[in-house]
Amino acid sequence: MTPLLKLLLRALIKGPVTEAAPDKQDVKALADQIDGKAMAKLGRSLVVRAVDAGSCNGCELEIHALCNPLYDIERFGIHFAASPRHADLLLVTGPVARNMAEALRRTYDATPAPKFVVAMGDCAIDGGCFKGGYATLDGVDKVVPVDMRVPGCPPKPNDILKALLALMDKVSGKS
């Protein structure tokens, strides 16, 4: 049997490695963070454009992890898009390096409304350990409006997942 067939057979016998969805209570608590004005309904899908605005790349590793089969983010209807023009949400990491501020602003402008911004990680929230430098702006909200903040350095995949689910529930009027 070829290695590929072996792998496929194992998956068939052992079943998927994907884990259970996060606890509903946790998600609801996060959903309450978001401003009550339910904007347009997104239905059960959310298209995300990740923007690194100066992170150390630790956050990117955890966003990648979200896409692995254990978290399998696509089963929730969440999909990462290559273009901001296809996105409902910008997931922004980094303290916003001044060299990236214009690119972030232009990415935001290219995203069709209604749109949401999640500041992911301690440095995206207020600059974190890079706060006060000449080269950073100390937070995503200095450049674009932020709807939700996910603390952590970096936040764990489940924390990011909960935040995205909460946001989706909120704007689709579920909570």
Partner: protein
């Protein structure tokens, strides 16, 4: 007499600086600096780094440091040229890997590399509110600079493809400018600096423990390796060594980090050849590694676990059991993937012969890590100059010679196996005892070379007499690997760029600082 000895002989008349450890630093003059550059054009010495600082005795003036290593016997030396004015002779003519470092020094300090071919700003995009932030930092109006990309000429019709800074995938930002003739890439030029956070400036005046957090975020995927490099440099500066248990725990973490990143890269390269099943399986294994790291050390990426003087987290019996279970699972799972790779001709068709880096360029640019070892350059800081606890163990440094995407995958494959074995040996042989030895408050200068998953990290630190960081220069391996990516893509098709790029996996943040 070999030119190696000639360089050492040239240096031996110049004064040694006290309190610089573990290697010698010598203060030289203008003429000697120029002689060294001439020697570097022909000698086997490795160029390790170039950085500037204010003169400790006269803050109005500056000095530039260059570190070199004799490839034959791993002698490392730092030479310092004190400057009266604002310029120094460029090194990039002899060692092109220095070019971006020279341009960065010009941006941060306003010091000009005389004779350098490329004087365009690098880190400074005209978007900071100050000029020369590491020197006088004069306020200025923010007027973003344009950038004169290099051109390509041909009697064929060429077109340009601009990519970035915001890329299509979930990756760091940077700009790539392709000149292409139909599908074939004629020239690639990188413009980086987008994620410059001013880390070097932020480190100044901080306690080593605080600055270590920044060192651990120079490049998040190499957080352990950068933290070890910073810690070792600080420890060298004050003349202590971390306790044996801490040294061994650091090595456990460093090898875990190597395995995790190599697994991710192995899957991602295959994914860029449209072989998604490999990414799924490799990322599942990587997740197991990260979860074991969290169980054993309390953080998935093990950030802030390595601190100057030791480590901040012990490995308990339960933690060790988690690690062992992970090792068993990953070892078995990875062999399945390695077999799958070997057995998939359509995948090999994409990787073999694609993105070849020439050994001669790898040497000239002084590149290390996977990129170098895939092109025949057998260099690994764990072996040369070597550091504890690796000296006590026998392990292999894999080498390939063809320098293509396939070879870079083969190096990662071999290193995953080697590191899994190392983790087991380190974990089994852990000495007991203290986790930390506090740094005495004293002035000193220290340097370290540490092998991260990407390659060799060089960190240099000056502590002042209050024990605070006066200057720190963490040189990520990416500095010398990025330019090789530009070279290796030439003649390949545009569609193979993601494959080549991922097989290098250089850090944007690490080189932008």
């Amino acid at each position: 007499m070999s030119e190696t000895n000639y360089l050492l002989r040239l240096l031996k008349d110049f004064p040694l600086v006290e309190n610089h450890s573990p290697w010698a630093r010598r203060v030289i003059d203008f003429e000697a600096w120029q002689n060294i550059i001439e020697l570097l054009a022909v000698s086997d010495w490795d160029f390790l780094g170039l950085w500037a600082e204010r003169q400790p005795m006269d803050a109005e003036k500056f000095q530039v440091h260059m570190s070199l290593r004799d490839a034959e016997n791993s002698t490392v030396v730092v030479v310092t040229l004190p400057l009266d004015g604002l310029s120094y002779p460029a090194i990039s003519g002899a060692r092109p890997g220095a070019a971006r470092l020279e341009r960065s020094i010009a941006d941060l300090y306003g010091l000009v590399a005389l004779g350098a071919e490329d004087m365009r700003p690098w880190l400074d995009h005209g978007r900071w509110p100050v000029n020369h932030p590491m020197a006088e930092a004069e306020p200025r109006d923010i007027i973003p600079y344009g950038y004169d990309f290099l051109t390509a000429e041909s009697d064929q019709a060429l077109h340009q493809i601009p990519v970035g800074p915001v890329h299509a995938g979930i990756i760091e930002p940077g700009h790539f400018r392709f000149h292409a003739n139909g599908e074939a890439v004629v020239r690639l030029e990188e413009r980086l600096g987008y994620v410059h956070k001013g880390i070097e400036r932020l480190m100044e005046g901080r306690e080593p423990l605080e600055a270590a957090k920044l060192a651990g975020r120079v490049s998040g995927d190499s957080t352990v390796a950068h933290a070890i490099a910073f810690a070792r440099a600080c420890e060298a500066a004050v003349g202590i060594e971390a306790p044996p248990r801490a040294v061994w725990l650091r090595a456990v973490m460093a090898e875990i980090e190597r395995v995790a990143n190599h697994l991710g890269d192995f899957g991602a390269v295959c994914n860029d050849a449209a072989y998604a099943i490999m990414l799924s399986h490799a990322m599942t294994l990587k997740e197991k590694v990260l979860r074991a790291s969290e169980a054993a050390f309390g953080h998935r990426l093990m950030m802030d676990r390595v601190i100057p003087g030791g480590v901040a987290h012990d490995l308990t019996k339960e933690g060790l059991a988690h690690l062992k279970a992970m090792l068993r699972e990953v070892r078995k799972g990875f062999e399945r993937l390695a077999q799958l790779y070997d057995d998939t001709p359509s995948l090999l068709d994409r990787t073999v012969g694609t993105g070849i880096t020439m050994a001669s360029l790898v040497h000239r640019f002084g590149a290390g890590g996977v990129v170098a070892r895939a092109a025949g350059r057998a260099i690994d800081a764990r072996k040369s100059p070597g550091y504890a606890p690796y000296g006590e163990l026998d392990f292999d440094v894999p080498i390939e010679i063809d320098g293509d995407v396939h070879c870079r995958l083969m190096i990662r494959e071999a290193e995953i196996r080697e590191s899994l074995a190392l983790i087991e040996r380190f974990a089994d042989g852990l000495p007991s005892g203290q986790l930390i030895r506090p740094l005495p408050i004293r002035a000193g200068e220290g340097m370290s070379l540490v092998e991260g998953f990407r390659g060799e990290i060089m960190t240099w630190v000056r502590l002042d007499d209050q024990g605070l960081v006066a200057r720190c220069f963490p040189r990520d391996p990416s500095w010398f690997q990025w330019p090789l990516l530009e070279a290796c893509i030439e003649g390949n098709i545009v569609a193979d760029f993601p494959l080549c790029n991922k097989s290098f996996n250089c850090s944007y943040s690490g080189a932008d600082l």
